[in-house]
């Protein structure tokens, strides 16, 4: 197990280098000068412009800038935001819980609905439920997220008035951050109705964010189950007289979980990308919205640092997925 872990760690390092370089290059490829953007409509004298350029180090050659950035990263210093003057690291961790909370809710919805749906569709293949589910999944998968989000907002927030349009918490409530997770903090605050408000705010964005992973998980579960259900050991399990629930839900699903775990792991990447759009639409104060705002402000340190952190998160999730393989199917651990 340790050897397995170390070999995965070995692939981690080159990926990390590549991601550092790409996050550095990405924002610099975009047209626009951060200092001009910072100055806004007031404009800037030539001397002041030059002074700011050398203050931020933009007069240095690119490789020197990268080296500065890279050595900083290795020391845990992602730089300081041009706009707020706070360390990128601090900003990231003050906003990350909001994104994490949204993503966790979304992935829970996606797994809780997608997995059983895929299993049932496979068991009743070709029947009505299977067909209905698979066409719905196809629609969910190909639907533009912003359109779907707006539709939900119009129906549930506009027409029905069931859910708020934006933010994480009603204005009536105020309490300190403890964990950064609204669901937990609102409970800890003891204020009546705060938790309900947090849930209300969370529902629509979670559904929107869950849509694509849900469709992907349902489809993958179905196809993995179909493959496993024709295996000899399923026939053996049935020959023992086990109930269909146990045969499908334990013997088959356990084996089908390998490809499903893979797409769940990949969904986490999609989820963070989807979070950028979803957070923007719902004014959700997480890292997605933070990244979008920073790109418009040409806030170089935030964009490169934020991208790097997101990439590290995704790599971390994939590492966990790799370790899970071995736990689910001991045969894989042997390789």
């Amino acid at each position: 197990m340790l050897k397995f872990f170390l070999s995965r760690l070995g692939t981690f390092i080159p990926t990390f280098l590549g991601v550092t370089l790409i996050s550095f290059a990405f924002i610099r490829v975009l047209p626009g000068d951060p200092i001009i953007v910072m100055a806004g409509e007031r404009g800037l004298s030539q001397e002041r412009y030059e002074a700011l350029r050398s203050q931020y180090g933009f007069d240095q050659p690119l490789y020197v800038q990268f080296w500065e950035y890279f050595t900083g990263v290795l020391q845990g210093d992602l730089g300081t935001s041009f706009v707020t003057n706070r360390p990128v690291w601090d900003e990231f961790f003050s906003l990350f819980p909001a994104t994490l909370e949204l993503s966790i809710c979304a992935i829970i919805i996606a797994i809780a609905l997608g997995l059983p749906a895929g299993v049932i569709a496979a068991v009743y293949r070709g029947k009505f439920f299977d067909r209905a589910l698979m066409s719905t999944a196809l629609i969910g998968y190909s639907m533009p997220i912003f359109w779907w989000a707006l539709l939900l907002i119009i129906v549930f927030s506009g027409n029905l008035g069931w859910t708020p349009v934006s933010g994480r918490m009603g204005l009536l409530y105020f309490f300190d951050d403890v964990t950064g997770f609204m669901l937990i903090d609102s409970l800890l605050s003891g204020q009546e109705g705060a938790f309900g408000s947090a849930v209300h705010h969370l529902i629509l964005p979670s559904i929107v964010l869950a849509t694509i992973p849900l469709a992907v998980i349902a489809r993958q579960t179905r196809s993995a189950m179909l493959e496993v259900l024709s295996e000899d050991y399923i026939r053996t399990a049935r020959a023992k007289g086990l109930s269909p629930g146990r045969v499908n839900g334990l013997h088959a699903l356990r084996n089908a979980m390998i490809p499903v775990i893979t797409v769940i792991g990949l969904s986490v990447g999609t989820l963070l990308a989807g979070a950028i759009l979803t957070e923007t639409i719902f004014s959700w104060p997480g890292i997605g919205k933070w990244m979008v705002d920073s790109i418009f402000r040409r806030d170089y340190p935030v964009v490169q640092g934020g991208l790097l952190m997101i990439a590290v998160m995704v790599m971390f999730v994939n590492l966990i997925v790799d370790l899970l393989y071995g736990l689910i199917n001991p045969k894989i651990r042997k390789r």
Partner: protein, 325 residues
């Protein structure tokens, strides 16, 4: 009274190229404690007929029978739940591929205990003790340790022993072994066969041994049913069958045995078992039969009386002169 009694069993698969009859009007009888061998080339419907008995065929299969009873209970009228109480318990089956027949995600011990939990009232400790006992019965050394092994950590022969232990865990009255040795090394094959016949003698259970190996039949079976292209073509006690085969197909199978060969090269049966699209009219064996005439090629053969091995043939071999006329 028969332990297993099947009359007129037919199985038809719905395939993308139309219906396919894999088992055609087959009768099966097994008395308690009897060893019945079912022989025939691959594709002759041996597995499918036994899977139909177990109720393990996929939904694409349609099973019909005039009678299908186990221990006097009608299998056709049984609910799914009642059937699941029976299989794995009184009626058990093992399969050809031991390596793929066990679930790779669970230890072999788990997979045996699962059967015990389903069908017996033993508690956890008693189940464990029974597993140890079973492993000793099937000759698996170091049972405590092996119970914790995953199937991929054991050899094919060991896995087949595990499968046998699992099948006899709840003391079945009938064990169906579907080519249990085909996937194994020759040296292991004999061990597994000895094990099966030993267990049969020890427990007094009935045993259906499916095989395509006449040599295996000679060593183990009491009675033999020969199956060809989904039909039972002959049914005789083993000695009588080897002495006086009545169906030309049986005779050809026997002639192909190495110890019976008179020439330097083994005689083989030309051609293959007809599949879905090349089923001949009349007798299904007629295209490969050296005795076939126009009657065989056009008219379906009758079932001969028991003295002639229930042979499905117009011109059974070794028939007394007057019967031929």
């Amino acid at each position: 009274m028969s332990l297993l009694k099947i009359r007129n069993l037919s199985v038809t698969f719905t395939t993308s190229s139309g219906p396919f009859r894999a088992v055609d009007k087959v009768d099966v009888d097994v008395r308690p404690g009897e060893i019945l061998a079912i022989v025939g080339e691959s594709g002759s419907g041996k597995s499918v007929s036994m899977l139909a008995t177990m109720g393990l065929l996929p939904w694409t299969a349609t099973v019909t029978a005039d009678e299908m009873s186990f221990d006097g209970r009608d299998l056709r009228a049984m609910s799914g739940k009642a059937r699941r109480r029976l299989i794995g318990n009184d009626l058990a089956m093992i399969f050809q591929e031991p390596m793929s027949s066990l679930n790779p995600c669970f230890t072999v011990g788990f997979q045996i205990r699962e059967a015990l939990r389903k069908h017996t009232s033993l508690d956890a400790k008693a189940r464990h003790a029974r597993c140890i006992e079973l492993f000793e019965m099937v000759g698996i050394p170091a049972p405590e340790r092996r119970l914790k092994a995953f199937p991929h950590q054991l050899s094919g022969g060991m896995n087949q022993r595990v499968m046998i232990a699992m099948a006899i865990a709840c003391r079945p009255r009938l064990l169906i072994a579907d080519e249990p040795t085909t996937a194994l090394d020759v040296t292991i094959q004999a061990q597994i066969l000895d094990l099966l016949t030993g267990l049969q003698a020890e427990t007094g259970m009935g045993l259906i041994l499916i095989t395509h190996d006449m040599g295996v039949v000679a060593e183990t079976a009491e009675r033999v049913a020969v199956q060809y292209a989904g039909q039972k073509v002959e049914d005789q006690p083993v000695d009588a069958l080897f002495d006086t085969p009545h169906h030309p197909y049986t005779a050809a199978l026997l002639a192909a045995l190495p110890e019976r060969a008179t020439e330097r090269h083994l005689p083989t049966i030309p051609g293959v078992v007809p599949g879905q699209h090349d089923r001949p009219a009349g007798c299904l064996f007629s295209p490969r039969c050296k005795f076939a005439d126009d009657t065989c090629r056009t008219i379906e053969p009758p079932v001969q009386p028991p003295e002639l091995g229930l042979a499905l043939c117009h011109y059974p071999l070794h028939a007394p002169q007057e019967a031929k006329a």
